[in-house]
Symmetry: C2
DNA sequence: CGAGGGTTTGAAGTGCATCAAATAGTGTGG
DNA sequence: CCACACTATTTGATGCACTTCAAACCCTCG
C-alpha cells in the first residue's frame, strides 16, 4: 500500500512536471525549478458548484485548470455578480494576489466538473526574487491579460447584444477555417450570457437575431456559422480589433 | 549660447533624475540606472487636442505625465471611441507595448494642455533583461492597473448612471475627509461622461438625480458632497468594493 | 413518468441614447 | 466694458435596447 501510494505520487510528479513545462509561465525556466514546483503541487478534482476561494481570502495557492471550467467573478453587496472571466484548459488563475496584499481579488467557482493543479504562491514569490526569466514570464501573462481586459471594456462600450454574442462565437473559432464552422458552446447559455453581461432572455433573443442576420444554424448548444465573413462584417466593424483579434491569445495566458 | 543650452540641459537632467526617483517604476533601482534613463529622456509640452500616438503605431517611447491630462482610448471602425483611462500627474502610459509586438495597444490624446516626459522603450527593454528589481516594479504597476481595470469591468455590469458618477466623485476624494468635501472636476464634463461610458446628456441628468438623492451642491465644476456616508451608501452598496476602494492606488500606477 | 433545471417566448417597464432646442459659459475684437 | 461668436452644458420629447416578470417549453435524469 505504501509502495503503491509512492509510485502513484511518482507518476503524478512526472505528469505535473511535463504539464508545467508546457506553460508559458515556465518557458525557458530551469528544469530544476520546474521540478521544485511539481514537488510542491498536486492535482485536485471538484464538482460543478464548488467555490475554490472567495474574493478577499488569503491567497496561499494559485491554480492551473486541466479539465472543466472555472468562473472568476465578484459579487456586490446587493447580490448581483460580475463575471471577469471563464477559464478552461491551461487557464492560470489566482496569481494576481502576488501583488495585492496576498489576497484574492476575485472569487472562483467551478462551473463544469473540473480537474486542476494547485500550486503554492509562496514558491513563486520566492523564485520571483531569484530568477529573472520567470518574472518576465509573469509579466508577459499579465500584459496579455491586460490587453484582453481592455478589449472587454471596449466591447461593453461599442457592441450591442447580438454583436457581443457574435464576437464570443468568433473567439471560439480557429484561424484555419475559411468560410464555415460548427462549434459547440463550451458551457451553459445562461453562463455565457452573464459572461457577456446580459440576461439569459437577452442572450436567447440576441442569438435569434444573430441567426437571422448572419446565416447560423442552431441545434441546442451546437452552432454552425455558415458564412464567417458575414459574421465578421456584422460584429467586428464596430470594434477596433480585426477578426481573430485574440489569435495566439490562449486562455493559458490568464492570471 | 552653447553654454546656456548646456546648463539648461544639465538642470533638466537633474530635474528628470529627481522626478524618476519618485516613481514606483524606479523604486529601489540603482541610481546609475535612473541617470541613464534621465540622459535619454526629455520634457515636452503640448496643447489640448494633440495626438501623441495612435493605436498600432510602433512604440518607441513611453511617457510620464507631469501636468495636464491625457486620454487613452480606442476608436472603432464605425467612428465611436472607448476611453480606457484618463491620466494626470505621474501617470505612466505607453508601457504596455513592451509585450505586444512593440505596438501601442491604444491611442493617446492630450485633453488638457500638458507637460510630460518622453522615455525610450528600448532602454527599459534592455534593463528588463539585466535588473530584477525594475522587472518586479513593472509587474507591480501592471498588476495594480489590472485590478483597477477589472473594477471597471465590474462597474459597467452593476452600476447605473448616477452611481457611476457618484463612484467617480468618491474616487476623487482623499481618506482624510470625514463627512463633507468640496471637489473640482478635473476636466470637462463631456470628457468625464465618455470616460464613464455615457452621453453628456445622461451625465447631466445623472448628476442632477445624484444631487437630489445624496445632498450635493453644484456650482459649475465645483461639487460639494455634504454627506459622504450618504453618497457611499448610494453608490458603493452596488459594488464589491468599499469606500476608498482605490485608496493608495494613485494614477502613477497606470501603465 | 414526473420533477427540476435550463431555455425560450410574450408583455410590459426602465434607463439610456438620440435628436433638437434652449441656456450658460468663455474668449474675442471693437 | 460690451456685443458677438463659439462651445459646453442643460432640458425636453421621443425611440430603442435591454431588463423584468411571468408562463410555457424542453431536456435530462432519477
Amino acid at each position: 500500500m505504501d509502495i503503491k501510494n509512492h509510485t502513484t505520487r511518482e507518476s503524478e510528479f512526472f505528469k505535473i512536471t511535463k504539464l508545467l513545462s508546457c506553460l508559458a509561465l515556465f518557458d525557458k525556466v530551469p528544469e530544476k525549478m520546474i521540478m521544485h514546483f511539481a514537488e510542491k503541487s498536486y492535482f485536485k478534482t471538484q464538482k460543478k458548484g464548488k467555490i475554490l476561494f472567495f474574493h478577499g481570502d488569503e491567497a496561499l495557492c494559485f491554480f492551473v485548470m486541466i479539465d472543466g471550467w472555472v468562473k472568476l467573478f465578484r459579487e456586490t453587496f446587493d447580490g448581483s455578480e460580475a463575471i471577469l472571466d471563464v477559464l478552461d484548459h491551461y487557464g492560470i488563475f489566482g496569481l494576481d494576489s502576488l501583488f495585492n496584499d496576498k489576497k484574492y481579488t476575485y472569487s472562483a467557482e467551478i462551473v463544469e466538473d473540473a480537474k486542476y493543479l494547485v500550486l503554492p504562491t509562496s514558491l513563486l514569490h520566492y523564485y520571483m526574487q531569484k530568477n529573472q526569466q520567470i518574472t518576465i514570464n509573469i509579466l508577459g501573462l499579465l500584459s496579455k491579460n491586460q490587453l484582453s481586459q481592455s478589449r472587454e471594456i471596449e466591447h461593453f462600450h461599442v457592441q450591442n447584444a447580438p454583436q457581443k454574442i457574435g464576437c464570443f462565437l468568433l473567439r471560439l473559432c480557429n484561424a484555419d477555417h475559411k468560410d464555415w464552422i460548427t462549434i459547440n458552446l463550451p458551457y451553459d447559455k445562461s453562463l455565457i450570457s452573464s459572461r457577456l453581461g446580459m440576461k439569459p432572455e437577452t442572450f436567447s433573443r440576441g442569438l435569434f437575431k444573430l441567426k437571422q442576420d448572419t446565416d447560423l444554424e442552431i441545434k441546442g448548444s451546437s452552432i454552425t456559422i455558415k458564412n464567417i465573413q458575414k459574421m465578421v462584417d456584422y460584429t467586428c466593424n464596430h470594434c477596433s480589433q480585426i477578426f481573430l483579434c485574440n489569435n495566439g491569445h490562449n486562455k493559458q495566458d490568464q492570471m
